[in-house]
Symmetry: C2
């Protein structure tokens, strides 16, 4: 009763009740933030003591997170943080490329609702303005990260297919692979991807489904390529290294 929880999302995915919801959010944050190691076993009583709730909402949250693919479950052994080996992370980009490709194809076939169209136009305009200077300054990348997120989210909402959006959301929530992050910091790369966005948007408006899909697939694939290149330069395993960098537009 005293807790203030943003239960904006109503019935998507595998949510759970009041208190369990906040537990779920805190746990997800902890997992994605790397506070708990991959493969680590999550002790229910310990968590319930830490979070000052009973085991019931903790269990509910754990099961919901398992539904999101962040945890593994083994009977009589409880939940463990799912491991995401580097190959699996890279694969996630291919999966995401295929799914977002289908999403924009749907959007191009069905047409863009006015609301989403406005959001996208605003995002594109904001990107144009940010990029017209010809170079990046301090907080610019953070700003563009949000712009990029708005673009993809709006396109996602435009498909009107829950299963598809949930799957894409899962791809975005693969540890270290959040959409709102950017792998390549070079101005020139961001510029190119912003141009991709324009082209994709045009294809959707022009009702060219297959061109839109193809562009989106290539768009996401190029992000994967950048990630792989980034990783092969510095051999370091990116569990923490990528944390602030992550993935791309």
């Amino acid at each position: 009763m005293t807790e203030l929880i943003d239960q904006t999302e109503s019935s998507a995915g595998a949510r759970v009740g009041n208190r369990a919801l906040s537990v779920m959010d805190r746990l997800r944050e902890a997992i994605l933030g790397g506070a708990v190691a991959a493969g680590e076993r999550l002790n229910e009583v310990q968590l319930s003591k830490t979070l000052s709730v009973s085991r019931t909402p903790v269990r509910a949250a754990l099961q919901a997170l398992a539904g999101e693919g962040l945890l593994d479950y083994a009977p009589n052994r409880g939940f463990t943080v799912r491991e995401f080996p580097l190959p699996a992370i890279v694969d996630a980009y291919d999966i995401r490329a295929a799914l977002e490709g289908v999403a924009v194809r749907f959007a191009a076939e069905r047409g863009l609702p006015a609301k989403e169209r406005e959001i996208i136009e605003r995002a594109l305009a904001a990107g144009d303005k940010l990029l017209e200077r010809g170079s990046f300054e301090a907080g610019d990348l953070t700003i563009y990260r949000d712009i990029n997120g708005d673009f993809h989210d709006a396109l996602l909402a435009a498909t009107g297919n829950r299963m598809l959006s949930e799957m894409i959301r899962i791809c975005h929530h693969v540890p270290v692979s959040s959409t709102r992050n950017i792998v390549v910091f070079e101005y020139h790369d961001v510029r190119r991807r912003h141009d991709d966005h324009h082209r994709i948007f045009q294809a959707v408006l022009a009702r060219e489904p297959w061109r839109a899909e193809m562009l989106m697939r290539e768009h996401v694939a190029s992000i994967k390529t950048s990630l792989v290149g980034y990783l092969s330069e510095r051999k370091t395993y990116p569990s923490a290294a990528l944390q602030p960098a992550g993935d791309g537009p």
Copy 2:
């Protein structure tokens, strides 16, 4: 300890503990079988009385099924059977086509493990034998349904990517859209799809990733087309009509 449950699957997806597992299976069966209507609200106490268990495993099962996308959840209102409008069912084929396309691409890139290769070869041989007669008899479709399932499952296992296989599994579990069913009964159509399987397998063996992906996409897309055609002939809504027919190879 008196109950005999097949807990073959260990840590995939969102499973839950011993008793909850059997509850989950029974509920899934009931939902997929159409025993409970879409949109219907699932009463926890009623279910627990029906199944002779307490509410705890029932809740666990419900949350797990929500994680599989079969149920919706609303805080303080419980779980409802998710609705799958006809457009969503049709969309599922496009999503499945994209995902299985990526799966075979991975298989072609990575190579087929000996075990899966054997399974596929056996399935293809069995299909050849079944089809060489030139026409279908009574139980032949049921047999081919299993052959078809084995083929797709083996290919799926060969990718070695959990997220991908789970997503494909979800597509297959969309109500009325199980892979192991076949929409078109014509011998000629099954023949064509069996040929598709051969070509896909060859492409995977020949290490031609993009050709394999393209073939698989077209393969699944053709099934969607058949379904749409089937539906537009008889205008009846397929909630029950498709139950025995379903979807295809």
